[in-house]
């Protein structure tokens, strides 16, 4: 398979999974999609190396997450994007249940949010989550447990609030 075919297959097969991961981290679908596309652009620029990696998706995932967080934090990004491109094109809104869970995820501490997203949304085993986040396996397990408990609490509060409204 040529490098082009290799990249195109990789792009088509992994983009949705990567979008879900970055969206869970940031809660903004348009930003997430932009970050994922930018990460693929950077991946193609280095494809002769990245294409040889055992797991090129990990590289794109890390890159996309950093771009997304960076953009989220780049306070001028919205202004810059606006004057570059005009109002953003309509992006299909995720369903209300999706928005509710992602909103709760965003309220978790960083390390718990990332661990939950990698484990449940990307589907990485605990050992791979540990490798990608640079912490021991036991720490990942603890973060997953604490994150699950905290998320359950947040969703329960939201459900109670909705019932009371």
């Amino acid at each position: 398979m040529s490098q082009v075919d290799d990249f195109d297959t990789f792009y088509r097969s992994s983009r949705l999974r990567l979008l879900g991961f970055v969206y869970a981290l940031t809660g903004n679908l348009a930003e997430a999609q932009d970050a994922v596309q930018e990460a693929f652009v950077r991946a193609w620029q280095r494809w002769s190396s990245i294409g040889e990696y055992d797991d090129p998706e990990s590289w794109v995932r890390v890159t996309a997450a950093r771009i997304a967080v960076s953009r989220w934090r780049q306070l001028r990004s919205r202004a810059r994007a606006y004057v570059r491109h005009g109002p953003p094109p309509p992006v299909p809104e995720p369903g209300p249940e999706t928005v509710e869970v992602v909103r709760a995820l965003r309220r978790l501490p960083e390390e718990q949010r990332v661990a939950l997203a990698l484990y449940y949304l990307v589907g990485l085993p605990v050992a791979d989550v540990a490798r990608e986040t640079g912490v021991p396996v036991g720490t990942v397990k603890a973060r997953l447990a604490r994150g699950r408990t905290a998320l359950a609490g947040l969703l329960a509060v939201e459900a109670t609030g909705a019932a009371d409204a």
């Binding site: 990249f7 979008l19 620029q45 890390v62 004057v83 990332v114 949304l121 986040t133 640079g134």
Partner: protein, 293 residues
């Protein structure tokens, strides 16, 4: 409870099936165009490579997993986020940053992140499109020892754009924090008004460019040093000179307390509201500043 997350994975796959993606050839073309532009801008690229290598070297010495992906393909995979697990005396506790109770009721902290020194290359005042910016040779902000960021969001998501407050704090070595404050002043003075650049602003249907205005509104009202800055952006039609769409205004307050600098931003034109946040932020920085106050 894992049901929520397992269901979420399924729902995301379902919800996102209608997302439109560029064809792979378009992604590759974007990469090619950028490569050509990079070659054309070689002198700038050389500077960026030098800076990137410096980051990589610093990151490499600080943590084996913190090499930034933008610096080139890593031999070992960088961590998805940069979290410090060991307190070497430079970290900043979350309570030292502005908190929801400082802002108002029905708010919460979200998207919190921490970064050890040398990992995060951007900062709020990177106005690279300003023609004078490069000549200022702004570098001090890169020397931070520790960085913590989060945003304070309203509980009602529909209020996010008007009420969200973006918060970051850096700890700097020696006298660097004072240099950073001086750099912010220099940027605001040199980039008082600039065009965002026609090539970046243009679209085929409506060629336009951004016009940015930076204004120092006040200073010396909190902490060791403080600045209140307004960033106003409009989009101007290249052909008619008329403004396109609504302007965007953001007010920043930058406060230094000894070796700590916090920057707080909000999309608003209410300078008094943001300035008040600066005073509360100064009191919190005192908890973690070296020396304490």
């Amino acid at each position: 409870m894992p049901d929520n997350l397992e269901e979420l994975a399924n729902r995301l796959a379902r919800d996102f099936t209608t997302v439109r993606w560029p064809e792979p050839g378009q992604i590759r073309a974007r990469a090619r165009r950028r490569t050509v532009r990079t070659a054309a801008g070689a002198p700038l690229a050389v500077i960026l490579v030098v800076v990137a290598v410096a980051w990589a070297l610093r990151a490499g010495s600080a943590s084996p997993s913190s090499t930034g992906p933008a610096a080139g393909p890593p031999r070992t995979l960088p961590a998805t986020t940069a979290t410090t697990s060991v307190d070497d005396g430079t970290s900043i506790p979350i309570d030292a940053l502005l908190q929801p109770e400082d802002v108002g009721p029905a708010r919460h902290v979200e998207n919190e992140y921490t970064y050890p020194g040398g990992v995060y290359p951007a900062w709020t005042f990177s106005h690279e499109q300003c023609p004078a910016y490069a000549g200022l040779k702004i570098r001090a902000f890169l020397k931070y020892d520790f960085m913590r960021i989060h945003q304070i969001a309203p509980d009602r998501p529909e209020d996010f754009d008007s009420l969200a407050v973006f918060v970051e704090a850096h700890r700097y070595p020696d006298d660097t924090a004072a240099t950073v404050m001086g750099d912010v002043r220099r940027i605001v003075a040199a980039c008082r008004r600039y065009d965002g650049g026609p090539s970046e602003a243009s679209t085929p249907e409506r060629p336009a460019h951004g016009v940015h205005t930076l204004t120092l509104l006040d200073d010396a009202f909190a902490g060791s040093e403080s600045l209140l800055i307004r960033h106003h952006t409009i989009s101007v039609d290249d052909r008619t000179g008329e403004q396109v769409g609504d302007p965007i205004t953001m007010i920043y307050v930058v406060v230094r307390v000894n070796d700590l600098v916090t920057t707080i931003g909000r999309y608003t034109d209410d300078r008094a509201a943001v300035q008040a946040l600066g005073s509360r932020a100064a009191a919190r920085l005192c908890l973690a500043a070296n020396p304490r106050c």
